[in-house]
């Protein structure tokens, strides 16, 4: 049922995903970090979320290329406005899904 090769892959993946999650928490949480580092880390969430999101919206394919005429981008605009107005995570997810579904059935 479990192939040995697959098991090794899974165990290895488990290790290399756990360590980057665990190491900074244990290393940094008990120290008084310098203020510049605290300020820098405070900017990281906005940076990462944007770096994850924006390429999803405006690029496509493998290798990636710019693509503005895709529903990912155009559905993002009303979804963005909805999120801005309501600040509701669940509502935004549902709205985005419905709009994307509609956009795909129209195209």
């Amino acid at each position: 049922m479990i192939h040995q090769e697959v098991l090794w892959v899974i165990l290895g993946m488990g290790l290399v995903t756990y360590v980057p999650r665990w190491f900074p928490l244990v290393l940094l949480s008990r120290r008084n970090l310098p203020q510049w580092l605290v300020d820098w880390l405070d900017l990281i969430p906005a940076a990462i979320l944007s770096a994850l999101l924006v390429p999803e919206l405006v690029t496509n394919g493998m290798p990636r290329h710019m693509s503005f005429w895709q529903p990912e981008l155009w559905v993002a605009l009303p979804t963005f406005i909805f999120a801005l107005k309501t600040k509701s995570l669940g509502g935004t997810v549902v709205t985005g899904m419905v709009l994307f579904w509609l956009a795909q059935s129209i195209i």
Binding site: I2, I48, S50, T92, G96
Partner: protein, 239 residues
């Protein structure tokens, strides 16, 4: 002001309240994970993984994009070492996320931190970080968020592994669930003009880098570049 003063939880929450608050923060994440988890299960099953292997991977790895990549690499016959190295590279961004969360977790045990570390994902990170920085959150609620999301991920990927054939791709806009979630999580983080500038720079640089370099290293590179640039800018403006 020392940092530990500013981040200690304002009040102790009782267990039931913590669980309820954690669940109400976690359900949108679950809503996003369920379709993705099912989709992962379907692909994994098609790549020849047994549902038990799928479950084991979702429990031990708990990283959506890496799991998708691993399964597609397995189906093309890639070796274990190259899959593991790829996984490591894709998940390096968690170094930044956990560092950013560590700021709020000064007075806690190593055991609890180790348990919390297991559940740090893009989504749980953003949900917990927002609440930690509003000082309405402590580690108990954050643990509820992480583990609820984890259960949703594991269960849905196993369901996908068993019954995925019946769910056709692209139904109900499920492909967009995580994108919509990122949009809202990003808005939560735009707490002032410097955050907006950071997001704009990170987004633009990420797009450019993603076109030039294959893989996902653009996420970490663009984030570090944007945060560093804006920190410098802030120092210069507020001088």
């Amino acid at each position: 002001m020392s940092k530990s003063d500013s981040v200690s939880p304002s009040k102790k929450h009782d267990l039931k309240t913590s669980i309820l608050q954690g669940l109400s923060a976690a359900w949108p994440i679950c809503l996003g994970y369920i379709p993705i988890g099912i989709a992962f299960g379907v692909l994994a099953q098609k790549a020849g993984l047994h549902p038990i292997e799928i479950m084991l991977m979702s429990i031990l790895v708990f990283a959506g994009s890496s799991q998708f990549i691993a399964v597609s690499m397995l189906s093309t016959g890639a070796g274990a070492v190259s899959i593991i190295i790829t996984t490591f590279a894709v998940n390096l961004r968690h170094l930044l996320m956990s560092s950013s969360l560590a700021v709020f977790l000064g007075n806690t045990t190593r055991k609890k931190l180790s348990l919390f570390a297991y559940g740090v994902t893009d989504e749980s990170f953003a949900v917990n970080h927002t609440r930690f920085s509003q000082k309405i959150w402590d580690l108990d609620q954050a643990l509820v968020v992480n583990h609820t999301a984890n259960i949703a991920w594991v269960v849905s990927s196993v369901i996908g592994g068993y019954s995925g054939r019946f769910i056709h791709e692209g139904a109900f806009g499920i492909d967009y669930a995580l994108t919509a979630m990122f949009i809202c999580l990003l808005i939560f983080q735009l707490k002032g003009r410097f955050y907006v500038i950071t997001a704009v720079i990170a987004g633009a640089v990420a797009v450019i880098l993603s076109l030039i370099i294959p893989g996902s290293s653009y996420i970490v590179l663009a984030s570090i570049f944007a945060a560093t640039t804006v920190l410098g800018l802030k120092k210069w403006v507020l001088r």
